[in-house]
Every structure is written in C-alpha cells, then in structure tokens.
C-alpha cells in the first residue's frame, strides 16, 4: 500500500488501466459489470499499480472478476477464495489483496472460511456480489435467498431463514463492514476505497442484481437508501442495527480498530542449514 505509483512519482493510472481485454461472460444488465468498473476506479483512485494488486476468487458469475482486471488474478475453486487470499497476504504482505465472489461461494460452501477470515483479521478486502441466487448454475436458492423464493430445486421455496452476512461478519469479528448497491457506483467506490485502506479484514456486501434469474431485483434501485445513522465502532450496536434493518441501508456500518493478524518475520534470518544443530547428540 505504500509502494503506490504516486509515491514513486510515476504517472498515475486510470480506471481503464485496471481492466483486462477479456469480454465478460455476464448477461447484459448484470450488476457485476458495475462492480467491476467500481473496483477498477477504486484501484486507480488509490494510485495502486496492477502488478501489486491480486484479486482472488472462487467460482460463480461474480467470481469471474479477477480475469477482467489487469491485476494478478486467482480464479480458484468454489468457496475457497478467502483461504487462498489469506495464504497470499500472509506470504506476501506487501501486496494489496482483494477477494471477490458471490453469495453462494462466500456464504454457502465458503461459510467457514468467512467466519475464520473475520476472526483472523488478515489485511484483505472481501467484496461479495450478493444477488441472492446461484447465477452460474442457473438459479438455485443461495443462503441469502428469501425462504419463499420458488426454484426448480426447492419448489415453493427453501423455507430457510436467510443468512445475514453483515451480522455474521460482525459476530465473527470483522473489522470493517459495509453494504453497497452496484447501481450506486459512486457510493460503492468510496466504500471499496475505505475498505482497502482499512487495516485488517474488511467486508463489503454489494447488492448486485442478477437480471436473468432474479428479475425482481430490478426493484432494488428503488429500495436502497443511505443508512440513516453514522458509522459506529461499537460492534454490539452495529449488530443490533443490522439485525433490525431491512437489508437496504447502504454505507459503512461498522469500523473497528482491532489490530490485523500479526505476521512475525524476523529481520535477522538464520541459515536454514543450521537448523539441524539441535539434533546433534
């Protein structure tokens, strides 16, 4: 984060410089297009260089983002993006590590890593494009889907209480928690910038409509609003607020100051060969 282009006096990059030449496979109108654009804008605004940023994802429509950026990308297997991001950041602390994906990838198969990433507080920014559906596999209920949403696999609805990502993040110790809407590009960009700047694990849920399998989500644009209260640093208060809101309050809803995961690299490095000494009789 210190090794920015600006600090080095180099020409500052534009958002477009953070996009690759690949054409996204997304459906026309998918919310993820805006998210991609916003991420590139945020990276440009932060004066980062693409080679110093890594974007890590799992599997899903939303998880395709890495290859659409011009950064280093890791498009891994379903549900394990946060673990890969953790390994990378701990091994290479000087890189800026973003983790991106969907509600299925992050909260269904990947739920455990989400819990533990929040606790561990490694300095990663986790961006989830929540469309309350499995887009990639053509329309099944995800953990954030309403219980009465009818699908072929769960006729009449899953009947299960939706997973509340922000509440779980808070309860697990996430240090920075925000909710955005892909249609609100400016607000989303600001949240992502803040999230990247914030030390430790930052979580941004972006409501990102799936026009194909959730056409009803076109209404989100009317429903979202800025959160009526300012950011708090009290997790219990934040939790109470989020547990009782309707899921459409946007903004940075919690910002804490727990120190990030400590990586103990000794400066004085020993010769690996000498490690055997202890076995000498």
């Amino acid at each position: 984060m210190n090794d920015t282009a600006e600090a080095l006096g180099q020409p500052v990059l534009k958002a477009a410089d953070f996009k690759s030449k690949l054409k996204p496979i997304w459906c026309p109108g998918c919310g993820d297009y805006s998210v991609l654009m916003v991420i590139t804008k945020a990276l440009a605004a932060l004066c980062l260089k693409p080679e110093n940023v890594a974007v890590i994802s799992g599997i899903g429509c939303s998880s395709r983002i890495p290859a659409y950026s011009s950064c280093y990308g890791f498009h891994g297997v379903h549900g394990r993006a946060l673990s890969a991001a953790t390994g990378l950041k701990v091994a290479r602390p000087e890189l800026t590590v973003l983790c991106t994906g969907g509600d299925g990838d992050g909260f269904s198969i990947g739920g455990n890593h989400f819990l533990h990433a929040c606790r561990r507080n490694v300095d990663i920014t986790y961006i989830v494009m929540d469309n309350q559906v499995y887009g990639m596999t053509k329309g099944q209920a995800s953990p954030t889907t309403d219980p009465d949403w009818d699908s072929v696999l769960t006729p009449g609805g899953s009947g299960i209480r939706p997973f509340q990502p922000l509440v779980i993040a808070l309860a697990s110790g996430a240090n920075f928690v925000a909710r955005a809407f892909s249609g609100d590009t400016h607000g989303t960009m600001e949240m992502i910038i803040e999230a990247i700047k914030h030390p430790g694990f930052s979580f941004v849920q972006i409501l990102s409509p799936c026009v194909t399998f959730r056409p009803d989500q076109r209404e989100w644009r009317q429903k979202v609003r800025p959160a009526p209260v300012p950011t708090t640093d009290d997790p219990a208060r934040a939790a109470r607020r989020i547990m009782t809101d309707d899921g459409f309050n946007l903004g940075i809803l919690y910002r804490g100051d727990r120190p990030p995961y400590h990586i103990s690299y000794r400066d004085q490095i020993e010769d690996a060969a000498s490690l055997g000494e202890e076995f000498r009789i």
Binding site: S69, G73, V77, S83, A84, G87, H116, F279
Partner: protein, 571 residues
C-alpha cells in the same frame, strides 16, 4: 549386526516413555545406533504405554523380531501390546511381583522371568519413581555406564532442578543394585565411525528437509500422526523468514498454500489420510493452475478415521489416483526415518521445478520413530522455480514450452499479470472449452511431469541377481534387514528395488534396474496390495510375480520377511 531390544511398559503415567528416551540417548553415548518406537492404549492420558528401544552396532531401520528384555512396571492392559512386543524363550521379563501375574499372552512365550520389587524400591527413595528403578535395572543388565546415564539424566532433568535429578540418580542406583545378579545382556558394541551423530524422528527430519528445500510457508490443521512435523516447524519458520498458519480445516490449509505459492513462496502442509481426503479438490486446482505445493501425508491405519496411532501403507491409491480428471502430479515416499530428510528436500525441489503438487507419503512408523544416525551429509538441493522476471508484452503464463514448464510471473512483477484458473485455458490463461486447448494443456501438464529427468533418486537399488524384491516406504527397512540376513545365509541372487518416486512411473529406469530379472516379489503393508496393483498398471513386470502384503498396524519385521523370501526364492 548385533542388536539389543528392550521394551518398557507401564500404565497410569509411570513414565515408560521417559525410560525409553533415556535408554536410547544413553545407548547413543556409548556408540550405538538405535531406533525407538512407542505404542499407547486408547486413553488420552495415563493409559498403558510401551517404549520399544532397539540399540545396534550398525544403522537400523526396522523394529526387532523379538525383544531381549521386557520390563513391566505393571501389567494393566499390557496384553494389548503382546503382538507388538514379540518375546520368546531367549527373552527376559523383568516385572514387579507386587503388580500381579504375568498375563497369559506374555507368559506363554517361555521367556525367563526375573522379579524385581520395582515400586517398593521406588518408595524407598525420596520422590523415587518406578521408571527410574527400571532404567537402573536395564542399565545394569545392558552395561550402560554411569557416565552415560548421568549425562542423559542431567540433560533430561535440567529444567526440573537438583532435587529431581538427585532422586532419579538414587533410583537408578537402587535399580542397578537390585539387578546386579541378573545375567547380563550386553549392549552391542557400537561400530560408529567417527563424526557427529544425530538423534531425530522422521517427523522432525521431514520438517527440516522441507525448510532446507526452501519451504517458507506452512498452513495446516493438526492431525495424528503428522502434528509433530508442524509443531517442529512452527517456531523454526519465523527464524528463516517464513510463517505458519493454523488453518480452520484442511480445505483452508491447502487453499492457503495455493495462495502463498501463487505469491512465489514455496509452501507445504502435513496431514494424514482424513486430511488428505479433504485436500483433493485443492490438489486438482494445483495441477490445473500449475502451482507447486508439497503435501506430506503421514499415513495411519485406514480407511476413514481408522487407527490414528498406527502405521499402514494404505494411502498410495488416493495419493496417486485420488484427483478427479486427468491430473498428473508427483508422489514420493521416504524409505527410512533418515530418508525423510532427503525425500522432503527433494520433493520441495521437484514441486517447485515442475510447478506441480507433490504428495509425500510418510507413515506413522517413519514419522514417530526416533533414530540414532550418523549426521546426514548436507544435501545440495535448493528449490528453484522458473519465474518470469521480465515478462514481455506477449507473456503467456501457460506457454507451450518443450519441457512443459512455463515461466511463472510472480505478483509484484510488472507486466506479468495473468489470472490463474482451475478452468481449462489457453496458453495465456484465458478460459477455453475447445478440444484443441484442452489437448494442448493436458499434453503440457503430462509432459512436464513425465519427461523430467529424475536422475538416480527415483529408487534405491541394491544387490545382484535374477530375482528382485520391489518395495517402498517404511517396509524398505525390514526388507533390507531381511536381505542382509539372507546374504549371511548365502542367498545372494536377489536384487532390491525400493521406489522413492512413486509417480510418475519410471518404466525405462525400472526396466534397466530389472535387466536380467526373471521373477519378482512385491512387498508392502496394505490389505488390498495397492502397490502391487499400481506396479501392474504402470510397469512391464516379469510374468513370474508375487506379492507379499498384509495390513497394519503390526510393522513388517525382518524375520517374517526372511521366511517369506527364503521360501519364495529358488536359490
């Protein structure tokens, strides 16, 4: 080769293990080589325990056929060890008459019995302990000098204070005195040439070899019997600029490795069968995205949770074939406790050179046995990954090179940006579903693994003759000892091939190693003969072939192999 084998058993925290450790170290001071294994009952703490020490005049790599001395501080549930501590009429049982009858399983051996009032003696010493009485008695019988016992006790009890040391020394003296009249079973005279010696377990050797090979990132989840690898590495890694993360599960550990190694840092984990099962998907990603990682599987009895504290060569199948899709990768196995050091180091080097996952198959015996060995020579093998340091405008991460290995751009390198993926892809890494790209990348990934020159390390080949024993992993030690004995008997027309590089198969080298061989005997510790079937699938074996295999947890013993090989061999 002369050896002396001593088993010390006891329950309820009597400290049999401590006695075993001290015996091994004291033997080492008197010039012996040695090997110690241990066995415990199901209780988490304070159950029955057995320390099995074998001291010898030459380096050894397997447990003994029969124990010379069995010292029982009590007999609680000790029958469970009967098959692990074979004794016979030549053996000596030392036991405390106050602790009841010798169990039938032991008594029927016909071993000579010598009673010793162990706990009564211990009570006579202030804070005296049974296991120190036992140590004294064994020291006396085996001819372990006061100097060596004093030394190892002082080292062992350094933290516990003068008082503890004093009472231990007194207990040992009392044990010596009580055993003064027992016939001696002298320590083998050590043949150790000069030079330094080490005392090390396979799990620690594995950790050391890995760090020496270049590992600087470890993520892992504890599991028996692999945890000691991790516990040894945890404080060491920061010293060499590395890090270890305790992950929430094995799915996370393998994925963390992939992230770290994508970042250019050689990465490893250690686990056992159940954990390996959970890493299968991640290993497939490592193959497709060509990210090197090393996964050590310290095998235990299977299937499923199985028998966690015991040894079995039963994970060969999953290691070689466990990945979905056509997924070429490396599988290696150390052949001895000492070889854990080399094989770990080589595995890191190969994984890094080939940008592929390497699975290393150790087992509970290799991992948890402690040996006395000559200080290993430093091994000149260092991880060297082919990286793209100045990627040009047309840089392609998965370029179709002749070797199949393509330079890898490491995050932070300007101009090298690409997205790695588990989807099939073009040379540039763009997802592609065409038959052409699929074939090209499948070919490339197979080629780099298959056509690499692995040199001579792929197997250890010993002996001459037109018959051959083929084996692998921890069974090698028992095979070697059996072969040495058979040579003594005059049987010298049998070769031994102990395969270290299990996958990829090396059919040409194998054919050369077996030139002139008419018949083979495959030896392994697996109920379904996994190794034999693997060989049949990938090698051209002589028509005359046989397999000697059985399940764990009993270790293969040289004695049973001598019988088998003698009857099989037609010399």
């Amino acid at each position: 080769m002369k050896t002396l084998s001593i088993a010390v058993v006891g329950s309820g925290g009597t400290g049999a293990m401590t006695t075993g450790n001290l015996l091994l170290e004291a033997g080492a001071r008197q010039g012996c080589y040695g090997l110690q294994t241990r066995s415990v009952g199901p209780q988490i703490r304070g159950g029955e325990a057995a320390a099995m020490v074998r001291l010898s005049s030459e380096p050894i790599n397997c447990a003994s056929d029969q124990f010379d001395i069995l010292v029982a501080m009590d007999w609680n549930n000790v029958d469970r060890f009967a098959s692990e501590i074979p004794i016979g009429p030549d053996s000596l049982i030392i036991c405390d008459p106050a602790k009841g009858e010798i169990p039938q399983a032991m008594a029927k051996s016909g071993a000579k019995v010598q009673e010793l009032p162990i706990s009564a003696l211990a009570k006579q010493v202030k804070s005296g302990r049974d296991n120190m009485i036992a140590l004294g008695a064994i020291a006396e019988i085996a001819g372990l000098s006061r100097e060596s016992i004093d030394f190892v006790l002082a080292k062992q009890l350094a933290q516990k204070g003068e008082q503890a040391l004093q009472s231990s020394l007194e207990s040992v003296e009392s044990g010596r005195k009580a055993a003064a009249n027992i016939n001696k079973r002298p320590l083998p005279v050590g043949n150790r040439a000069g030079g330094e010696h080490w005392i090390i377990s396979g799990n620690r050797a594995m950790g050391l070899g890995a760090i020496r090979g270049g590992i600087r990132f470890v993520a892992a989840y504890p599991i028996t019997p692999a945890t000691e690898i991790l516990e040894w590495m945890a404080p060491k890694l920061p010293l060499v600029g590395g890090a270890l993360i305790q992950a929430e599960d094995e799915l996370a550990s393998i994925s963390m490795l992939l992230g770290a190694s994508f970042g250019g840092v050689p990465s490893m984990t250690a686990t056992s069968g159940p954990g390996l099962s959970l890493m299968i998907e991640g290993l497939g990603l490592a193959v497709c995205s060509e990210i090197p990682v090393v996964v050590v599987d310290v095998m235990r009895g299977g299937p499923s949770t199985g028998i966690p504290t015991t040894s079995e060569q039963c994970d060969l199948n999953i290691a070689v074939y466990g990945l979905h899709g056509d997924a070429p990768h490396l599988v290696l196995a150390p052949t001895t406790v000492t070889d854990c050091l080399f094989t770990a180091q080589w595995s890191v080097v190969l994984a890094e050179a080939l940008q592929a996952p390497a699975i290393v198959l150790s087992d509970q015996f290799l991992g948890q046995a402690t040996v006395i060995i000559d200080q290993p020579e430093p091994i000149e093998l260092q991880a060297r990954r082919n990286t793209a340091t100045e990627p040009g405008a047309n840089y392609q991460r998965f370029a179709l090179t002749e070797s199949g290995v393509s330079p890898m751009a490491i995050p932070g390198t300007p101009g090298g940006q690409y997205t790695t993926t588990g989807l099939e892809h073009t040379p540039a890494g763009t997802p592609s579903s065409t038959a052409q790209n699929h074939a090209l990348q499948l070919d490339k990934r197979a080629r780099k693994i298959q056509e690499f020159d692995y040199g001579n390390h792929w197997a250890d080949i010993e002996g001459q003759g037109d018959q051959a024993i083929i084996t692998w992993g921890s069974t090698t030690g028992a095979v070697r000892e059996a072969m040495a004995r058979l040579e003594h008997e005059g049987i010298n027309n049998i070769r031994t091939v102990a395969i270290r590089l299990l996958a990829p198969a090396q059919p040409e080298k194998f054919a050369a190693a077996l030139a002139g061989v008419r018949r083979i005997l495959v030896i392994e510790q697996s109920h379904s003969a996994q190794f034999y079937h693997y060989l049949s699938a990938h090698y051209d074996l002589p028509h005359e072939r046989e397999v000697f295999h059985r399940a764990g947890p009993l270790l293969m013993r040289a004695g049973e192999l001598v019988e088998k090989i003698r009857s099989w061999s037609d010399s």
